[in-house]
Amino acid sequence: MTENNFLLKKIEISVSEAEKRTGRTAMNMQETYTAYLIETRSVEHADGQSVLTDALWRRYSEFELLRNYLLVYYPHVVVPPLPEKRAEFVWHKLSADNMDPDFVERRRIGLENFLLRVASHPVLCRDKIFYLFLTQEGNWKETVNETGFQLKADSRLKALNATFRVKNPDKRFTELKHYSDELQSVISHLLRVRARVADRLYGVYKVHGNYGRVFSEWSAIEKEMGDGLQSAGHHMDVYAASIDDILEDEEHYADQLKEYLFYAEALRAVCRKHELMQYDLEMAAQDLASKKQQCEELATGTVRTFSLKGMTTKLFGQETPEQREARIKVLEEQIKEGEQQLKSKNLEGREFVKNAWADIERFKEQKNRDLKEALISYAVMQISMCKKGIQVWTNAKECFSKM
């Protein structure tokens, strides 16, 4: 099918609009939600112009469904995260309400970012369900569910929650898990403090606004000082108002960091999958080894391992040679099967490690680039804030000196 030749270079994806909608839930209760318009354009190489090929509306829960599907079908991939479900790390002025227009706007950008990340991923971009997500409005949910990924997902979820011990853990994956824990912890901490700093900065700027009003009232009784006071007061108002834009920009920076906070979880998921596979492998190997041993014991007549059959034999008398032969035969079959399974599991495991590690390397490079860019953009924001500050206070100083 054509979707196999699907490459990002040929298309542009954007989440261009957000719209409030009302509908009915499965329980027939009224609900309000936001729908996002996804537009896809194919880029004509000849003249570089893009033509709108598809446009459809999706809500956040559908994005979640897509991601869960990708998680199940591509366990070795560090799957890009979605923007947060609920607003966290908010400083006091910022709304934690999901319907707040600023939150919706930031979410729109986050969703677009998600789609772009998936579309630029060498493996994920070829996925059919992803393609349909962008192009097939109706029935998409049913299509996804028909893949039966939910079943896989359920068992995967159980596995993720289960605690088990791997005897021979892969050092690289252990280090990676450790790294992802650290990343999550440090970014959370950073975001929390940043929110508090933003709060305080907001306070400093806004209090200066009070000067504006008081200076204006004071200027009414002053003859010589009046003009200077009044105009200085105006600049104080400008100063106080400037913080709103500054902090809005900073919120975008916070979102960039948040993406990597959530990426840490995706990393952990890959590690977990590996652990699971490893555990599975070890269990299979253990099982095979015990069966081989049983077989050997039966053949040689020595009992080293406990078996129920052995016990009953002791209690109720020896079994016949025929019975023993039969048992050996069964075991040999099982052993043969087990060896096959082990072989394929090993193969699977090595494939997984190879692919996972390739994606992790890709991810690492992307992360380094993105974080460095984010930090630089933070510096740019600070510079802009300082320049604005210098301007306002220089103006104010001039007014004061004219008093």
């Binding site: 930090l375 300082c386 500050g389 008093m403």
Partner: protein
């Protein structure tokens, strides 16, 4: 008539030099400059020693007149004229330098208190020496202020720092409180020294120069506590009357004072709040930088970048601290002083009204022929003079005060703006150099990758 008579031994025994010691109470020829009525109390004559010029020629009988070198109506004696001329010739030459420093704690069985060292350097002839060092406690400052107010009821006496600060006082003698107070006391004395009239006040001189025991005995001379209390009660009662007949210019002055008081209080609150917010911002920022260093420990490729960001944030943090201290050292005390001034102005207004009320009540009494009309007419004459002096003193001092206020406010806010500019410039430089280093690095890396 109020018996605001001063005990005649008032000042002479407080002087370091024994020149006037032998003065008999009530003796000495009064300079005839005053209206010469019998109500004029024995005026003190300061002995003219070789180097000593007269500081004041008339007794500070507050009930009758106010010594004000600006008033043309003021009857003058030759000597006081000499003083006046001297003053007008050299209006800008400062010849009295005062510093307040070295707070020291003293513990007695009854109490603990702080004294401050006051060093005075002067070239004035009327001072026995060119340098004095004394120790004074807050109570002494209160005494001085009281004396100045008594002597010059319609002059604007500079404010003293508050007795206590209600909010947030953990310990009575914490370092910040003492330092703030010290600076305010320094300002207080210097303002008096710069005031054309107050600078020559006798009690002021005693305050600056007398040894502890001398000051104590000097203080004991003066109207007792009871009479001063009596004054206050009468003052409140009579000031209302003075308001009714207040001349237009003083109505305007009063309106100004009311609005000014409101606004300066608000400015004070806002400024304090800004300081508080900046402090809290600083506290959070202190934690912000180090997190980036922590992060760099797990990111081998981002170590430089993260550590640089941390260092930038720390530098901005330091700049914030500097901005904060600029605020607390310059703007806050300046604004707060004018908050206190606004209270003082209201007091001055009241006292002026009070003096007028005295006159008005006599006039009323005359109208209703309540008492001996001859005596009343005489008293009214004197009171009219008194009111005129008081009004003129206030008017002149008012202009001077307004000019000072304008300069002080202008300078305080200009400095604050300058501090903010400097703060942002520092932060800008920090982040710009970070940016340069990052883009330079980037170029280096690129060239390294090329074959």
């Amino acid at each position: 008539m109020e018996g605001e008579r001063r005990a005649s031994q008032a000042r002479s025994s407080g002087l370091p030099k024994g020149g006037a010691d032998g003065e008999s109470p009530g003796g000495g020829a009064p300079f005839a400059g005053s209206s010469g009525s019998s109500a004029l109390l024995q005026s003190e004559v300061l002995d003219l020693d070789e180097d000593e010029d007269d500081l004041e020629v008339f007794s500070k009988d507050a009930s009758l007149m106010d010594i004000n070198s600006f008033s043309p109506m003021m009857p003058t004696s030759p000597l006081s004229m000499i003083n006046q001329i001297k003053f007008e010739d050299e209006p800008d030459l400062k010849d009295l330098f005062i510093t307040v420093d070295e707070p020291e704690s003293h513990v007695t069985t009854i109490e603990t208190f702080i004294t401050y060292r006051i060093i005075t350097k002067t070239s004035r002839g009327e001072f026995d020496s060119s340098e004095f060092e004394v120790r004074r406690r807050y109570q002494d400052f209160l005494w001085l202020k009281g004396k100045l107010e008594e002597a010059h009821p319609t002059l604007i006496i500079p404010p003293l720092p508050e007795k206590f600060i209600v909010k947030g006082m953990v310990e009575r003698f914490n370092d910040d409180f003492i330092e703030t107070r010290r600076k305010a006391l320094h300002k207080f004395l210097n303002r008096i020294a710069d005031h054309p009239t107050l600078t020559f006040n006798e009690d002021f001189k005693v305050f600056l120069t007398a040894q502890a025991w001398e000051l104590s005995s000097h203080k004991k001379q003066g109207p007792g506590l009871l009479s001063r209390m009596g004054q206050t009660v009468r003052a409140v009662a009579s000031s209302m009357r003075g308001v009714r007949n207040r001349p237009e210019e003083f109505m305007e002055m009063n309106n100004f004072i009311e609005t000014f008081s409101q606004k300066i209080n608000l400015v004070d609150k806002i400024s304090q709040r800004i300081y508080k917010e900046e402090r809290e911002y600083f506290d959070e920022m202190k934690e912000y930088g180090p997190i980036h260093v922590l992060w760099s420990a797990s990111e081998e490729d981002l170590v430089d970048t993260l550590k640089s960001v941390a260092s930038c944030i720390d530098q901005c943090c330091k700049a914030t601290e500097k901005r904060m201290s600029g605020l607390s050292e310059a703007l806050l005390p300046a604004v707060h002083e004018y908050v206190l001034y606004s209270e003082i102005l209201m007091g001055v207004m009241k006292r002026r009204d009070q003096i007028q009320a005295e006159l008005d009540s006599k006039v009323e009494a005359l109208a209703y022929k309540k008492a001996d009309t001859d005596l009343l007419t005489e008293e009214i004459g004197k009171l009219e003079d008194k009111v005129e002096c008081a009004n003129n003193a206030l008017k002149a001092d008012w202009e001077r005060w307004k000019q000072n206020m304008q300069n002080d406010i202008k300078s305080a806010f200009t400095d604050m703006a300058e501090e903010n500019i400097h703060y942002y410039e520092q932060c800008l430089a920090t982040w710009e150099s970070f940016l340069t280093s990052q883009t330079d690095l980037h170029l280096e890396e690129d060239s390294e990758d090329k074959p």
